[in-house]
């Protein structure tokens, strides 16, 4: 419990900053919605002029773009990207932080098992992300109610918002594996930006090629906003694969960390 609270406190500042940033992106997009929807017809004609591949890459879905849910899912592609960086940052720094700040010797010579250390750190990371999502989700619903022109389906809206959390959990797990495997990570941001953007581009490519299998290679595509809009639910097969990947990543992290030599720096 003491490690959990200590870690939570350590993430406090960055969680606040990310929360504010994510909410700011959302507010910025949503406040543009009323003017967009007013000129919907003109915009549609304009956007139709864009090549289809480009529209797919930008995940512009013209049929839905001018409904609040469609517009929100467009905004989400940016919000989720930023959120992925947040999650990846936390994940990568979980273990590497101790090595970089040379505090591993402090923590690991205390009467605790390494498993308990990983659990506490994971729980703290999870709690930070959960908190981010709860507050962000509440803010998003409030904002949507402010700018709506007609009633919208709140469940679908929440399902859309929840994609942020799902993608974040995947990147959190990925970050932990990387941080446990690497001997020393000098700059967390470099690692997480590189990884997140690589997966983002893989996902974008998949969008252009309309290839279903490629979706499995990008955490961003496990939750497809277009599908959620249409069906007001998730694609179960992707959720299962995602959950398995997270479980494998976390299991591996536990195993590697408990076998790892902690070298003096």
């Amino acid at each position: 419990m003491n490690i959990f609270l200590h870690e939570l406190k350590a993430y406090r500042k960055s969680t606040m900053i990310w929360l504010v940033s994510l909410t700011a992106i959302m507010v910025m997009f949503m406040s543009m919605f009323p003017s967009f929807s007013k000129d919907a017809e003109q915009m549609t004609t304009l956007l139709k002029g864009y090549p289809e591949a480009l529209r797919k890459a930008l995940s512009l879905d013209l049929a839905n773009f001018f409904t609040i849910l469609g517009f929100y899912s467009y905004a989400l592609s940016f919000i989720v990207l930023a959120g992925a960086i947040q999650a990846m940052n936390i994940g990568v720094s979980i273990v590497s932080k101790e090595v970089r700040e040379k505090t591993a010797d402090f923590l690991l010579t205390k009467p605790v098992t390494r498993t308990a250390i990983v659990s506490a750190k994971l729980a703290a990371a999870f709690a930070s992300l959960l908190l981010t999502n709860i507050i962000y989700g509440a803010a998003a619903v409030m904002m949507a109610t402010q700018v709506q022109v007609e009633d919208f389906n709140v469940t679908t809206f929440l399902l859309l918002s929840l994609t942020l959390f799902i993608v974040q959990l995947m990147f959190l797990a990925l970050g932990i594996v990387i941080s446990v495997m690497a001997r020393k990570i000098k700059s967390v941001l470099t690692v997480s930006l590189a990884t997140v953007f690589s997966f983002y581009f893989i996902g974008t490519l998949g969008g252009i090629a309309d290839e279903q299998t490629i979706r499995y290679f990008s955490p961003f595509k496990y939750v497809d906003t277009a599908y959620i809009l249409k069906n007001s639910g998730y694609e179960v097969s992707y959720l299962i694969v995602g959950a398995v990947l997270i479980a494998v990543a976390i299991g591996t992290s536990y195993y590697v960390y408990s076998k790892k030599d902690i070298h003096a720096v």
Binding site: E101, T103, T109, H263, A264
Partner: protein, 295 residues
């Protein structure tokens, strides 16, 4: 005597870098045990294995009679460790860090923290970030001792401490020792080991060269003499039993001596001298001594 630490053929190899080979020695309950060797000889590797920060390639070690890997969390309740390089969570205040450290042990350490901080002259309200190296070291000392451990493991603890604080720190260790704590003290400075320890293990290039009582070590040790005399001396004046490497250069005599110091001192007092230097041999010279003995 019960053994607090039993190291049994411990080996750790890392790729091409040297680790430790076949290390065995015991530390008895209630003793201050020195562990000396030059930098990179394997002192830290041994200590880090004892603390299960790294895992042995082969061999094993027991602390309090229990395997140090298998029972690591349990053993560590009674271990206080001070790493050679202390570097604690920067964003915390000293007192926050010490409380965090104390929270791992199921006892109230508040009083002990205050006592130790007073002895070591440590300001608890400062941010760790703002502390000098020596003061960070003090945080490390307090952190290592606040739960009144039965076994204190110190890895080059004095670097960065000024002489006054070193003195206080040694007194503190002696007090803990009187209360019954066992101390494993690693260092590359012979004099501090000599001052505190009952026995020492000497490690060189990953292997234990000798485990000796300090008293035996001192008897076997050379002292370096350099004497400036007022008048030129007979070249053979200092050529007595136990003297080696005698060099006489007009009014300057230098030699190495091993044996009863009084015989040399008497000789010195019989001549008019301008200056005299008596030096401890440095560690390299002691190792030379052990190598010669082995060869």
């Amino acid at each position: 005597m019960k053994n607090v630490i039993e190291i049994d053929h411990l080996t750790k190899t890392y790729g091409k870098a040297r680790g430790i080979t076949n290390i065995s020695f015991n530390v008895e309950e209630g003793e201050i045990f020195g562990f000396i060797g030059p930098n990179g000889a394997g002192k830290s590797t041994t200590i880090r294995t004892l603390l299960s920060l790294i895992y042995p390639t082969s061999g094993s070690a027991k602390i309090f009679g229990k395997d140090c890997i298998e029972f690591a969390p349990e053993i560590k309740k009674e271990i206080g460790y001070l790493p050679s390089e202390v570097f604690y969570y920067d964003n915390m205040k000293v007192i926050e860090l010490l409380k965090y450290s104390a929270s791992f042990y199921k006892k109230d350490c508040t009083k002990r923290i205050k006592e130790l901080a007073e002895i070591m002259d440590l300001d608890l309200t400062k941010k760790i970030d703002d502390l000098s190296l020596g003061n960070k070291k003090k945080v490390g000392i307090v952190q290592g001792l606040l739960h009144e451990p039965k076994l204190i493991i110190l890895d080059e603890p004095t670097s960065g401490l000024d002489p006054l604080m070193q003195q206080r720190f040694f007194e503190l260790l002696e007090a803990e020792h009187k209360k019954g704590a066992t101390v494993l003290f690693s260092s590359h400075i012979l004099t501090e080991v000599q001052r505190l320890c009952d026995r020492v293990a000497i490690i060189k290039e990953g292997e234990i060269v000798a485990v000796e009582k300090i008293s035996t070590l001192q008897e076997n040790n050379y002292k370096k003499f350099k004497i400036h005399t007022k008048a030129n001396l007979d070249a053979d004046y200092f050529n007595l039993a136990g003297v080696s490497n005698l060099v006489v250069n007009n009014d300057t005599v230098s030699f190495l001596f091993r044996g009863n110091l009084n015989s040399v001192m008497k000789k010195i007092s019989d001549v008019e001298i301008a200056n005299v230097w008596i030096d401890e041999p440095d560690l390299e010279e002691i190792f030379m001594h052990y190598y010669v003995k082995e060869a």
